[in-house]
């Protein structure tokens, strides 16, 4: 019986901490099963072996921060049928996008001993600013069950199920007491995309927004709520300027409080 060729999976890295691609290796129970379903064709963190493209599915981690990477992502797009960006760096520019709010020339002159050795762009940008992306998986880091869901959906030709509501919904379904209402702890949960399972409130701390903005968040109203709790403008700027600082809603909200 002729064996059907397995889909080819590739994993690519740009500016990042490696944590989101590590999530794949952290699927200890599923890893060998996944490896049975696909050919791991390019995954430098895990293997020396490299199989040539085109690739059926590419997972892209990290943001674009160098001229070379701004080129490289186009080659990857051309070689990939289905391209998924994983994590806050790839979907929003990551924590390194804090450079986007700095005066770049001043910043560069402060930072480098020998600037000529370094090539870097003035902004850290998400992959979707450069190429068409088929699916974005949020989180800093991504949730590994959601990664398995996305790969499973792709293999079975269906749409991945990754809810777009806020962390609040997850908090309610876990039966948590609201940390903002009950303890007066500032929380980004009401404007943050679900996916973590309301982790921070479950540990008695406020959400710090690592999954980025939910669909149409009301950040202005949340900021007003924070001000009632006694939060200062400078702290509001810092709160929205985290791991998803360059996502449109969080960027606008942080700029609104910057004076």
């Amino acid at each position: 019986m002729a064996r059907k060729a397995k889909p080819k999976l590739a994993v690519w890295k740009f500016a990042s901490c490696d944590g989101c691609q590590l999530s794949l290796l952290d699927c200890e129970d599923e890893l060998l099963a996944v490896a049975g379903e696909v050919d791991i064709a390019n995954f430098a963190e895990a293997s020396r072996a490299v199989i040539k493209g085109p690739y059926d599915v590419s997972l892209v981690e990290g943001s674009i921060t160098t001229p070379h990477d701004a080129e490289r992502i186009h080659h990857i797009r051309r070689a990939s049928k289905f391209l998924v960006t994983i994590g806050a760096c790839a979907t929003a520019g990551g924590i390194q996008a804090l450079r986007n709010f700095a005066n770049v020339e001043k910043f560069t002159s402060i930072v480098y001993a020998t600037p000529a050795y370094i090539q870097t762009l003035s902004k850290s940008t998400p992959i979707s600013e450069h190429i068409r992306v088929d699916f974005e998986l949020r989180g800093c880091p991504i949730n590994k069950q959601q990664l398995v869901e996305v790969l499973g959906a792709f293999l079975n030709h269906r749409k991945p199920v990754t809810p777009e509501h806020s962390v609040c919904v997850e908090c309610k379904s876990r039966g948590n007491v609201c940390v903002m209402v009950a303890h007066g702890t500032p929380c980004l949960g009401p404007v943050t995309h679900a996916g973590c399972g309301a982790l921070c409130p479950s540990y008695d701390r406020g959400c710090y927004g690592c999954f980025g903005p939910m669909e149409s968040p009301n950040t202005k109203s949340l900021s007003e709520g924070w001000v009632h709790l006694g939060v200062k403008e400078a702290d509001l700027v810092r709160a929205f300027r985290g791991f998803n600082a360059y996502s449109e809603p969080f960027r606008r909200e942080s700029e609104a409080h910057e004076k």
Partner: protein, 429 residues
């Protein structure tokens, strides 16, 4: 004479983006460069102006493989600046989450990144076809480490529960007890790991290294101790910058560290082991002796054995901590920011990780300095290659290239960590 070039454009089975360039003429080595092209992310620059309380979560993002190390070095540095000491069960919980990180990070490296080199496989998945039991054991060990980090920290990558002064919420006794049986299994599996890796083929390659690690009066080091070397260095963490310096070289986006004035040195499991063998628990010492390595091991290829011994140590230590755990009354000690400078250094899985922060009276960061383990090992890695390549120059090109990669992987390099540290003006106080 014929000249030869070995080029590895993109090193595999390491964390981050790096390459290798070697040039030879006949048997003579002309040039070796460990190239690091991981793009800089400027953590030390954007930490300026952030609140002290944000440092653990922000610096964790330097590395997805060892976020706990960044959280630990940063909280200790802040507490040093504010004159706070975290003791008792909170101190134990910090050691416990660090045990989890060592287990997951070491198991990842031993089974998935390094063992395939010794046995001639491209990766652990291919290795699993012939060594299924070993790979399954490795994955299960790694999972136990991850579950320990998750229990204390909330999740395995970028835990959310660590804060300056302690934690947001502490586990109950019964939550920790639930892991006891699995940790007992893990301790046995780690001993089996030591036995297994001891049977791998090791090239003869004993080197005379300057080892640097933390040393604590009565524990195998995690968060505290003096910085010591096998050449008589014995200093307080706060004096790190009096003795170590960083250089910016053209072929690397990571700074190279030296022990002043110009000595390269070795950090990580092999350094810790050689400087702290007497602090290992009896079961870990016994596992090492049974594997045929004594209190001194100077072959970097055998770091895979030492890393496995440290998994035994981490499992054993975790079990001891869980056994005596009594939840503290409060999850964190109170913090009162004040102006000053704080220093912290902890033993990341890959070696010492130094943080220094200068803060204003409100606890806002004025400047930051972070020195990760891999940038400290870069010069030693290049020196190993310079010694190693001429000894094996008769081997065919493809095999020599693979051997060079293996020699780099001896250090479990984390290139993502090693970059972002290009801020030389940070010396200003």
């Amino acid at each position: 004479m014929k000249s030869r070039t070995i080029k590895v454009d993109y090193l595999a089975r390491v964390e981050g983006e790096g390459g290798l360039y070697v040039k030879m003429k006949g048997d003579k080595l002309l040039d070796v460069k460990l190239k690091i092209f991981e793009p800089p992310r400027f953590f030390e620059a954007f930490l300026r102006g952030r609140n002290y309380s944000e440092a653990p979560d922000i610096t964790a993002r330097i590395c997805g493989i060892c976020p706990v190390a960044y959280q630990m070095s940063s909280v200790h540095a802040m507490e040093d600046a504010f004159g706070v000491k975290v003791e008792g069960p909170l101190r134990d919980l910090r050691r416990l989450i660090y045990c989890g990180e060592w287990i997951e990070s070491h198991a990842l490296h031993v089974y998935m990144l390094h063992a395939p080199d010794f046995l001639g496989y491209q990766d652990a998945i291919q290795m699993a076809r012939d060594h299924a039991d070993a790979v399954q054991r490795g994955l299960k060990l790694k999972k136990t480490g991850n579950d320990l980090v998750t229990l204390v920290g909330g999740r395995e990558i970028h835990p959310i529960n660590v804060r300056v002064g302690g934690f947001y919420k502490v586990p109950t006794r019964s939550e920790l007890d639930a892991l006891t049986d699995r940790l007992k299994w893990a301790r046995e599996a780690a001993i089996e790991t030591v036995r297994w890796v001891a049977t791998l083929p090791f090239p003869e390659f004993e080197q005379d290294y300057v080892f640097v690690a933390l040393r604590h009066p009565d524990e195998y080091p995690f968060n505290e101790g003096h910085l010591v070397s096998n050449r008589g260095l014995d200093i307080l963490i706060r004096n790190y910058e009096d003795h170590f310096a960083e250089e910016h070289v053209e072929h690397s986006n990571a700074l190279h560290s030296v022990l002043k004035p110009d000595t390269n040195y070795f950090v990580g499991p092999l350094a810790r082991y050689n400087l702290n063998f007497d602090r290992l628990s009896p079961v870990a010492q016994e596992a090492a002796r049974a594997a045929g390595i004594g209190p001194v091991c100077r072959n970097p290829f055998q770091s895979i054995i030492v890393r496995s011994v440290e998994i035994v140590q981490a499992c054993d230590e975790a079990l001891r901590i869980i056994e005596r755990y009594q939840p503290p009354e409060k999850p964190a000690v109170e913090i009162q920011p004040r102006a000053g400078t704080g220093h912290g250094c902890s033993e990341a899985p890959r070696g010492i990780l130094y943080h220094r922060y200068r803060l204003d009276a409100a606890g806002v960061i004025l400047d930051a300095k972070i020195v990760p383990p891999t940038s400290q090992n870069q010069k030693t890695i290049e020196r190993d290659l310079r010694e190693f390549i001429p000894k094996f120059s008769h081997t065919p090109q493809a095999e020599l290239q693979w051997k060079c990669e293996q020699a780099i992987r001896n250090y479990d390099p984390c290139i993502s960590c090693s970059v972002h540290f290009l801020k030389l003006d940070l010396e200003r106080e």
